[in-house]
């Protein structure tokens, strides 16, 4: 279903029901804005379409709503902040130094995970484990970079994250780094991916907003904009277009995904932003 919006005297869209829901949630659309989709006799308000929008949410997104722990993500997509409610006696793994606030009954334990391999991912060596003692507790988690945050429920499937993407997970999720091999050697990106498998909640973050892309067949993503992807997709680092494009397109190297699965991309990337500051840096002497 494609939804057309009319507001402020102009037409917008069409958008998918999921996009409309997100834009409503973010305040970019208002319930009183006019909407239309094929099958309707005339324009109506978005408020009148709420039921339909919920029903049109794709089943995949519904499956992603599975969770072991209750959580909220607020202030998406620019300043996403995660709050997880940990039931009494249960434990949550959290990226080191990402805890912003917590209940006093949460006990923190620092774990070294995976030894050297985690050290090499460039991800901090430590994951902290927060256990709720004597009753439930709440933890507020803020990733280092401003950006977006996504939750996925793993149920035997596997997701690869770029090395700085991990935020938190349930204890049933195994977090390992995976050698990417020479495929990534020339990309200028981190050589390592974090492999998350098992069963339970997983949260990961981006710099900039996150866009999930369902791949059927082939899809190309700039290496600096990959956040995560599902196992089963084949991936290969390559150049974009002809030889001239390799040197002059400004696109660097790209990752080609093949098969069926999902790739999450980010709308900004930290290295480009850091490079942008270069001319503003003071010169020596």
């Amino acid at each position: 279903m494609q939804i057309h919006i009319h507001r402020n005297g102009a037409n917008e869209g069409p958008y998918s029901p999921e996009q409309v829901r997100q834009m409503l949630a973010a305040g970019h659309l208002q319930p009183q804005d006019l909407a239309f989709h094929a099958g309707l006799a005339s324009w109506t308000t978005l408020a009148a379409l709420m039921g339909e929008l919920a029903a049109a949410t794709p089943p995949q997104a519904a499956a992603a709503d599975n969770r072991d722990m209750e959580y909220q993500v607020e202030c998406r997509p620019d300043f996403a902040f995660l709050t997880v409610h940990i039931p009494g006696g249960q434990t949550l793994k959290v990226e080191a130094s990402a805890m912003a606030t917590m209940s006093t009954n949460l006990r923190m334990k620092t774990k070294v995970r995976g030894g050297l391999s985690r050290f090499l991912t460039g991800e901090s060596l430590f994951l902290n484990e927060f256990t709720a003692e004597g009753g439930p507790g709440e933890i507020g988690i803020a990733p280092g970079s401003p950006g977006d945050l996504e939750h996925v429920y793993l149920d035997g499937n596997t997701i690869f994250l770029q090395s700085s993407g991990f935020v938190a997970s349930g204890m049933g999720v195994q977090v390992d780094s995976k050698w990417q091999g020479f495929k990534g050697f020339f990309s200028g990106e981190s050589l390592f991916l974090i492999r998350c498998s098992g069963k339970g909640d997983l949260w990961f973050n981006t710099f900039g907003a996150m866009i999930p892309v369902d791949v059927t067949g082939d899809y190309v993503v700039d290496t600096g904009h990959i956040v995560a992807f599902t196992e089963g997709l084949e991936y290969e680092i390559g150049k974009l277009g002809g030889l001239k494009s390799l040197f002059f397109s400004g696109e660097g190297l790209v990752c080609r995904f093949r098969g069926e699965g999902r790739v999450w991309i980010q709308t900004r990337q930290l290295p480009s932003f850091a490079w942008w500051t270069y001319p503003f840096r003071p010169t020596k002497n």
């Binding site: 869209g13 069409p14 958008y15 996009q19 970019h28 997509p77 620019d78 950006g147 977006d148 900039g208 907003a209 866009i211 892309v213 067949g217 082939d218 899809y219 190309v220 993503v221 700039d222 904009h225 974009l240 277009g241 002809g242 001239k244 494009s245 002059f248 397109s249 400004g250 696109e251 080609r256 790739v263 991309i265 980010q266 709308t267 900004r268 480009s272 932003f273 490079w275 942008w276 500051t277 270069y278 001319p279 503003f280 840096r281 003071p282 010169t283 020596k284």
Partner: protein
């Protein structure tokens, strides 16, 4: 061609859906993801037109010299475009009235849109502190622009003043003049406003909520010397 701006205003990206046979020209480095069916070509000029002068002109604007052309051969495809800095994007349909765009804000345009470089003029350029050139987009078709921070349109009827660092684009029906803010050089400089752009006539100016140069200058002293 169908263009949707998603995730604005802080982290906007433009999703461009191309039907078979359609194409789009983008600033080098703007592509973040795309269907692999799209054909990519890198040139120094707008496709099938212009000359080496185009590249030289692009060089002096401070823009990337190279443009990428994405074409859907045979079957439809999509490309996501995004700028480097946090901020919003604008999808505008040019229909006869040319648009003058601040060099750093150009992201993409349809092949039916002509691109040219317009020199701001000696006096205007020397003192504006911004790029001495503007990109002129004319003809017909969609263009995509980006801003640092949010974008807001101002409809000018008569006269209006905008700080040079806050201009994203404006319609060519407007005459513009770079002038001192305030009556004298002392107030212009001491007031921190320097030079401003005075628009005259009828038309729309799109402004950005923040000035990237000011942000860079605020950040610079905190960074390690290079």
């Amino acid at each position: 061609m169908d263009i949707t701006i998603v995730q604005g205003p802080g982290s906007a990206a433009a999703r461009v859906m191309l039907q078979a046979g359609e194409g789009i020209t983008t600033e080098g480095g703007a592509m973040i993801a795309m269907s692999s069916a799209l054909h990519v070509e890198t040139t120094t000029r707008k496709r099938d037109s212009g000359s080496i002068m185009g590249a030289l002109k692009r060089l002096v604007t401070g823009e990337s010299i190279f443009l990428n052309h994405y074409t859907a051969h045979g079957r439809a495809g999509e490309v996501y475009l995004a700028p480097t800095l946090p901020g919003d994007m604008l999808h505008h349909e040019i229909d006869g009235v040319p648009l003058l765009v601040q060099a750093g804000s150009y992201v993409a345009s349809a092949p039916s849109v002509e691109m040219d470089i317009r020199w701001q003029g000696f006096g205007k350029a020397m003192f504006s502190g911004e790029s001495a050139f503007l990109i002129e987009l004319s003809g017909q078709g969609p263009v995509v622009l980006s801003s640092f921070g949010a974008i807001y349109p101002i409809v000018v009827e008569g006269e209006h003043i905008v700080d040079t660092g806050h201009i994203v684009a404006f319609e060519s029906t407007l005459k513009y003049q770079v002038v001192k803010a305030g009556g004298s050089w002392i107030t212009a400089i001491a007031g921190g406003e320097g030079l401003v752009c005075k628009f005259q006539g009828n038309g729309t100016v799109w402004c950005q909520s923040h000035n990237a140069g000011s942000f860079g200058q605020a950040l610079g002293p905190l960074l390690k010397p290079r």
